[in-house]
């Protein structure tokens, strides 16, 4: 008898494989739908034009002419790209990057939908798509989602699920509106919103860490409570004292020269301060989590709190700190949201906090991923409202379900299997 070394057999993952297959089929269906409805559904001579000059910018130094596309053939090409992508997924069964592929398909689908909606001759009274104003309009939603998703990254990397992002949005928006109205200073309003969000975050941490309550339940309770509290206060405070909810928009701070670049300028360089703060924050959070000692501690606490504790890291303190900071970021997001609407309204965050949570999962608990995911989700949220102007023959309420459907699919783990921090959502007990 001799003994021979064998290499361990490669393990397949049937469940994963089934998911990859399902995503491939889903992508193929989207491709087919795009081809049949948005492509071949247009008459051959139908065209849509893309315009690039925002209405709000006067005296732009550069003028970009409109681009007229044949609606039918453009969409046929787009649908073929989607179908090729679906084929690649079905044949190659990639293990990584599935969500990215799905995101690209979602964006392509939205593009085809727009081109189809604006086709002429067609039912739409508007036969052009103003690309720049769509991007500028969507950037506000995207920004709020990124704030929310960053808040989630901070909390969940430390092992606490912050499902109360929505609540922190509401708190930030409410307090922010009061401060902006009184002082007319959005910097002070931002500070106030930070503090309000931090308080809600701290409250979540307090229940989750001190009493080890179920984080999901505490989070949902906080959202419900803040929703009701805000409508009560709205009635008691803002109705009798409308001066406290004045309706100021945060001013745009154009960056010299850069702001005049066509398309990119208005989208990236002529934005309110909140937008630039968000971009800086993405970099800071990314750096802090993945390069610094602090970040290593946070991730250790989120993955294996006992291991962190045995090397002298104070698990509870790290979690308190991060959930409070996460709350502050979401609170700031709430002020930013209010500043794009001008004032506080009851219920106008309409579940953006949950979509941010989905963006966080879609983005694999990474700030950079969260940005990409927020762009996809933000665009689809914005477009679902914008499409009304094109008189799409589908009820606006059905259109508005679209982002939430993707959210459910992502949160339920139907699309792609991602790996959360191992201790995410689990209470920590010392022994």
């Amino acid at each position: 008898m001799t003994l021979l070394a064998t290499t361990p057999p490669h393990h397949a993952h049937p469940t994963d494989d089934r998911r990859v297959y399902a995503v491939g089929v889903f992508m193929a269906l989207i491709g087919l739908f795009t081809l049949l409805v948005f492509g071949l559904g247009c008459v051959a001579r139908a065209s849509s034009s893309l315009t690039f000059n925002p209405i709000s910018v006067v005296n732009a130094p550069w003028h970009v002419g409109a681009l007229t596309l044949n609606a039918r053939w453009t969409n046929v090409v787009v649908s073929l790209v989607i179908l090729v992508g679906a084929g690649e997924v079905l044949l190659r069964r990639p293990r990584r990057g599935l969500m990215t592929r799905f995101g690209v398909v979602a964006v392509l689908f939205l593009v085809a939908l727009l081109i189809w909606a604006a086709r002429s001759p067609g039912p739409s009274p508007i036969d052009f798509i103003n690309v720049t104003s769509i991007l500028v309009g969507a950037s506000a939603t995207v920004m709020v989602l990124i704030f929310g998703a960053l808040s989630g990254v901070m909390c969940e990397r430390a092992g606490v699920v912050n499902i109360a992002i929505e609540g922190q949005f509401i708190a930030g928006a409410f307090v922010g509106s009061i401060f902006a109205s009184i002082t007319n200073d959005f910097f002070l309003a931002a500070l106030a919103g930070l503090v309000a969000g931090a308080l809600i975050g701290w409250l979540l941490a307090f229940f989750a860490l001190r009493y080890q309550s179920d984080q999901i339940i505490v989070g949902v309770v906080l959202v419900t409570m803040l929703g009701s509290l805000s409508s009560y206060l709205n009635l008691q405070v803002f109705t009798p004292y409308p001066n406290l909810n004045l309706g100021n928009l945060a001013p745009n701070l154009p960056i010299p020269l850069l702001a005049k670049i066509p398309v990119l300028g208005p989208v990236f360089f002529n934005q309110p301060g909140f937008f630039y703060a968000m971009i800086i924050l993405v970099g800071v959070v990314s750096f802090a989590l993945f390069k610094t000692r602090y970040g290593l501690h946070v991730r250790a606490v989120g993955e294996h709190p006992r291991a962190a504790a045995t090397v002298g890291i104070n698990v509870v303190r790290v979690r308190y700190l991060n959930v409070t900071l996460g709350g502050a970021i979401a609170g700031l997001g709430g002020v930013a949201f209010m500043a794009t609407k001008g004032q506080f309204q009851v219920g106008y965050t309409s579940g953006l906090g949950y979509i941010a949570l989905a963006a966080l999962i879609f983005g694999r608990w990474r700030p950079s991923g969260a940005v990409v995911a927020s762009i996809i989700f933000g665009l689809s949220v914005y477009l679902s409202y914008d499409l009304v102007t094109y008189q799409v023959p589908v009820s606006i309420y059905v259109l508005q379900m679209f982002p939430y459907l993707i959210t459910i699919a992502v949160v339920a783990g139907l699309i792609g299997r991602v790996r959360a921090p191992a201790a995410d959502g689990l209470p920590y007990k010392r022994d």
């Binding site: 003994l3 021979l4 610094t292 000692r293 290593l296 501690h297 250790a300 090397v311 002298g312």
Partner: protein, 503 residues
Amino acid sequence: MHLELRGITKRFGSLIANDHIDLEVQPGQVHSLLGENGAGKSTLMNVLFGLLTPDEGQIALNGEVVEIHNPGEAVRRGIGMVHQHFMLVPVFSVTENVVLGFEPTTSLNRVDYRQARDDIRRLSHKFNLDVDPDAIVENLPVGLQQRVEILKALSHDAELLILDEPTAVLTPQEIDSLMTIVRSLADSGKSVLFITHKLKEVKAIADKITVIRHGRVVGRAEPSASEGELASLMVGRDVQLTVEKTPTSLGEDVLRLRDVVVLDDRGLVAVNGVSLDVRAGEIVAIAGVQGNGQTELVEAIAGMRPVASGEITLGERDITNCTPRQALDAGLGHIPEDRQRDGLILSMSVADNLVLNTPRRAPFARRGTRNLAAVNTNADALVGRFDIRTTSTQAPVSSLSGGNQQKVIVARELSRPLELLLASQPTRGLDVGSIEYVHRQIVAYRNEGHAALIVSSELDEVLALGDRVAVMFEGQISGVVAPTTSRETIGLLMAGTRETSAD
């Protein structure tokens, strides 16, 4: 480092987990702390490592009395602990795990990974602990993960290393390599506190042995002491370490497994085409490091987990993908791996637990109503026959000790006619006395001409019980050998080398 524990006492309510424990470890010495599960070893180590505060007593390091409030403090004072369940972050690299909590930093609080990596290379070279600093821990075999734990302790300049049941998850070869490492650490002047309940290891590695039982030091011994002496010290009475088996005549195949494939919870292939027969009158023992598909195989046989492909027959019946009840009805007796989760309902009484798999059958039920008199008569009889120590048959089974809980399960399964006894880790967590009892029951059952399939990650148990030993590795049977086969050969099979015929 010179360590002295003086009169350490730790109480949990009325329970005294540590009762005036004295212990001294000299530099360069491997000191073994021997005791059964629940004897108070872990409590003592947690006191030493700052996870628990002692009610009385002193800890002296190099002659200086210190108080240790948290693990961070213990580490700073030069105490390193290699936990039984590794304290490693699976998704981190070796470097990240080793520096965690003690990171070298550059500007802006950045972790200086370059320096960290260099430090680890130097350290692993110095102590002969070869490991790739950039490997992700979860991709490493368990033996290497343990090495990372040891490196981690050494990188914090540990002078005293505590190893808590370090061999529980290792293959025999990995155990050998660990022993070499421990010896060389001691030779380089470190002190080592080696906690275990395995007598062989103690004899192999220790310079000094302290035995504790029920929270008290009951004896000190030299490694030259015999296993029997150590065992009786540990248990408090004479123990028979080997089980006597009478030769039996082999009967028909009772259990037949054919190319059985089973998936684990994540959908990965856990059992990869296992074929095995168990005949009447023999015990087949499945050996293997935990996590090589044994759990899934047992659950599949017991009807608790679907079979992806293949065939399982018990007696004349095909029990592939049957329900647990169908398996029981086909004559399967099952002692599950996790007795508290799958074997008992802890809040229910001893009497009810003794009829847990036959509650609907006569005489325990009639026309849909329970016959409590029959249940209680049954309980009285079994408690006497299997020597179950309980205050009453009506007491909740949770009030029993681990050993007696296991006796309840053994009594329940062996008190009805069976085709096959299937037992998974039947003595895990039990004291030596209870192990002896359970082993005797299983062998007596086999001596009567019955079939049994035993799964255990304890090689001693496998060799003591098995008439044939099947070794599992990565979901496959890597070999079926006689129990007289050398430990080295079985160890190689456990590590995945495959049995082939020479030609």
